[in-house]
């Protein structure tokens, strides 16, 4: 049986609305209007042990609701969810022992204390055997490069440092499953790379299942084998990253900054999508023309000041999936 089984999850929320302005506030004193939102509208998937799954979708699509259900924080209105044979919200304490959770925007470390104290406290909370704790801690400290952070109060750490410490904290008890919720948001480039590499390596060595929600397609590309796309509470695509690519033929972008205002000349198989003050936005299909080919082509034809490749934002990807379905 799969490690994680989710079947037909449905969850609805009721949200109160307020009118703007002073009169609206006064009116709100007496009468409130409510709106029902389908956060999850029949979500199903299953995940095998040691899979690396990216879970993407626009804000409010139901990503974090799904993660909350799987973490045992939220009970769905209907549907089935079993993780390691357990229903998460039924036996919360046993279930969450198998989980590591990292919320990108919030830390689980004690704000005013040195990092090491938080680690020690987590050892007691999770009842981690001494030997396992020391081994894990020392390994993570070394690999994540957080030696220097250990004696520093959390509030004095940079975001990148803090997130690396948070990641270590979430894994101290050797969980079977790791949830990462927007972990790289706001991180500096160096920390991002260290973070991603660590997750890949940890997954290879320990076989930990990783479920990652993110807005950064680069995270997905580096870490994940499989991508699930959720939109309006429904899974609209689930499969290997390459398959998704093929299905929606994701255009990539090459952004070029030119030395002078000269009209750019471009490879015949790429399209100029926009051009403004010497900054040219080129779209291309990586299956038709490779990025390296295109870059050498562009640099040979133009005097280039700067050049970089961009993934399209997730919103665009989703729009394309819908287009593909309509076709």
């Amino acid at each position: 049986m799969s490690q994680i089984v989710v079947e037909d999850l449905v969850k609805r929320f009721r949200i109160s609305e307020r009118d703007p302005g002073m009169m609206g506030a006064v009116r709100g004193l007496f009468r409130r209007r409510y709106q029902t939102v389908d956060a999850l509208d029949g979500v199903s998937f299953s995940i095998e042990p040691s899979e690396l799954v990216g879970y993407i979708g626009p804000n409010g699509a139901g990503k974090s609701t799904t993660v909350k259900v799987m973490s045992g924080i939220l009970v769905p209105d209907s549907g089935r969810c079993e993780i390691l044979g357990r229903v998460p919200w039924r036996r919360r304490n046993e279930h969450v022992k198998e989980l590591g959770v990292v919320f990108g925007q919030r830390t689980q470390l004690w704000w005013d204390l040195p990092v090491i104290e938080s680690f020690d406290l987590l050892r007691d909370i999770y009842r981690i055997p001494r030997v396992e704790y020391v081994a894990n801690r020392d390994e993570f400290v070394e690999v994540l490069g957080i030696e220097a952070c250990l004696d520093v109060p959390v509030r004095q750490l940079s975001l990148g440092q803090r997130m690396r410490c948070d990641l270590a904290a979430a894994l101290l008890h050797s969980p079977a499953i790791l949830f990462l919720d927007e972990p790289t948001i706001g991180m500096d480039a160096v920390s991002k790379i260290a973070f991603r590499e660590f997750i890949k390596r940890f997954n290879e060595e320990r076989g930990t299942t990783v479920i990652l929600t993110t807005h950064d397609m680069d995270d997905i590309e580096v870490i994940c084998d499989r991508v699930m796309v959720i939109s309006d509470g429904m899974i609209i695509s689930d499969g290997k990253l390459e398959d998704l690519r093929k299905k929606v033929s994701i255009e990539r972008r090459l952004v070029v900054e030119l030395e002078d205002g000269a009209v750019p000349a471009v490879h015949p198989r790429a399209v100029i999508a926009g051009s403004e003050r010497g900054r040219v936005d080129i779209r291309f299909d990586p299956d038709v023309v490779s990025a390296t080919e295109l870059i050498s082509d562009v640099t040979s034809r133009n005097r280039v000041r700067d050049i970089f490749v961009e993934n399209p934002p997730i919103e665009e990807l989703i729009a394309r999936i819908y287009e593909g379905q309509g076709r």
């Binding site: 973490s71 969450v96 959770v101 919030r106 005013d112 406290l121 007691d124 909370i125």
Partner: protein
């Protein structure tokens, strides 16, 4: 049993961590302590000022009222120190920190109870203990085993009752994001009310704090027994001895309501 011991150990660890957190801000630490002491002594100062003018209240002298003040304030200080996490609970729900607590393999009550023990909360103990000592020195109490035990039971019952109120107040945060001061009226107002003998109040009010929220029950009746004063309201002695147990029952009931609230939270996500 080992589960309980382990939980107590983790609880102690939580408290140690939060005390060390506060030491991080040494600069304002002493001033904060002094300030807290002043604030918390305010009511006691008021009692002295008023007795200086009026001499007695409802047949009680200043020492007797100080004794009652001591029991009530020590109870409240203990309860307050043990349930800080519940006190700050509304904010934790808003910020999502409660979700984090739910992802840890420990009971929510343990994690919230150990959340943050601040010194300002401990400082509340000081005037209470000072008042008890002051009263004990002047009242010529009989410190028999029964009386000493009853004093401890009364403080424990009071602490349990206040803790139950704080838990109930926190539970409200599952239903509304608005901070409801109303429950503060019960806790802080309860402290204010029950530090004076309950017989001075109007009957409806007296009944409210005797039967509704039995704060007077756990402090007023036992202190009558300890001081050997017959109750003007005519309760029997055995009742005065057993009354504090009501507080413990109240706490257990509150924790049931809390568990119901957690289940509701998990099904509404808000």
């Amino acid at each position: 049993m080992s589960g309980v011991l382990d939980s107590l150990y983790v609880y102690r660890r939580f408290l140690g961590v939060s005390l060390r957190s506060q030491m991080q801000y040494k600069a304002s630490f002493l001033m904060q302590l002094a300030g807290r002491l002043l604030v918390n002594s305010g009511e006691l100062i008021a009692i002295f000022v008023l007795f200086d003018r009026f001499g007695s209240i409802g047949g009680w002298n200043v020492y007797q009222v100080a004794f009652l003040y001591g029991i009530v304030n020590v109870s409240f200080a203990v309860a307050d120190a043990m349930s800080t996490g519940f006190d700050l609970f509304g904010d934790m729900v808003k910020s999502g920190d409660f979700d984090r607590i739910l992802t840890r393999p420990r009971s929510t009550v343990l994690q919230l109870g150990g959340q943050e023990l601040t010194l300002r909360r401990i400082s509340r103990l000081t005037p209470g203990i000072a008042a008890l000592v002051f009263a004990a020195m002047n009242l010529e109490l009989d410190w028999s085993l029964a009386n000493s035990g009853l004093l401890l039971l009364s403080v424990a019952g009071g602490a349990a009752l206040f803790a139950g109120l704080i838990v109930l107040q926190a539970t409200l945060a599952f239903w509304t994001t608005e901070t409801l001061e109303l429950m503060n009226a019960l806790t802080y107002g309860g402290v204010e009310t029950t530090q004076y003998p309950i017989n001075i109040y109007r009957p409806w009010f007296r009944n409210f704090f005797t039967f509704g929220v039995p704060l007077a029950t756990v402090s007023y009746f036992p202190s009558l027994a300890i001081m050997g004063v017959p109750d003007p309201l005519g309760t029997p002695l055995w009742f005065q001895y057993l009354a504090p147990l009501i507080g413990i029952g109240f706490l257990l009931a509150s924790l049931q309501v809390w568990r119901f609230g957690v289940r509701r939270y998990m099904s509404t996500g808000s």
